[in-house]
Amino acid sequence: MLILSRRKDETIIIDDKIEISIVDIKGDQVKLGINAPRSVKIYRKEVYLEIEKENAAAARSSTDALASLGDIFGKKD
């Protein structure tokens, strides 16, 4: 992993088009400002991990579990 030291208001540029600035530093919290083309997807890593975890839980719900819930919605025309 590349590690760079930056101070408040300093920026790094990735691949000529993604700019990440240190907007503010308070205690152990760092506020980042990101300038990137719309096509670049930016998420907190927790979001990825959360969806991965939910997919794994969903894969464990068997279709039998669905049957065990019974006819919860009633009949739909």
Binding site: R38, S39, Y43, E54, N55, A58, L66
Partner: protein, 142 residues
């Protein structure tokens, strides 16, 4: 979509299941659910639901990259469907939740799909389906 089993291709796979790209989409015995069944790994299937069934206000924001991967041109959404993965936890409340943060988006023309991530914080990974139906019915009767 009609009753037939459809062969769906998910080129990027689902999060955590990246290597698996070929699925069959079929109706579950229980309305209104669908089953997404892996064609490559035995006993791997997901329960899906149309989010509009319990959240008529559901509109996931899709990125250009999402649309490009499933071959949809910008602003041509007529044949694009969003489906949510359902998790059933028999011993836990809520027993049945839907993931509206990571919907599966399907292009009905070519049956190519992708699991997207919505950036709207309103959509979470665990929506209590029954509670939301009740809340919605309550709102309607007011």
């Amino acid at each position: 979509m009609d009753n037939d089993e459809k062969q769906i291709s998910i080129p990027s796979g689902l999060f955590g299941f990246e290597g698996l790209t070929r699925y069959a989409l079929l109706r579950a015995a229980q309305e209104p659910f669908l089953i997404l069944k892996s064609q490559e790994q035995e006993n791997l299937s997901f329960i899906l639901i149309d989010p509009l069934y319990f959240r008529s206000d559901y509109t996931p924001d899709l990125s250009d990259e999402d649309l490009k991967e499933i071959g949809v041109e910008k602003d041509k959404y007529d044949n694009v469907y969003a489906l949510a993965i359902v998790t059933v936890r028999p011993d836990e409340e809520p027993r049945m939740t839907a993931n509206l943060q990571g919907p599966i988006i399907i292009n009905g023309e070519n049956l190519i799909a992708r699991q997207c991530i919505t950036s709207n914080p309103k959509w979470q990974t665990r929506h209590d389906i029954l509670a939301e139906i009740r809340a919605h019915q309550g709102a309607e009767s007011c």
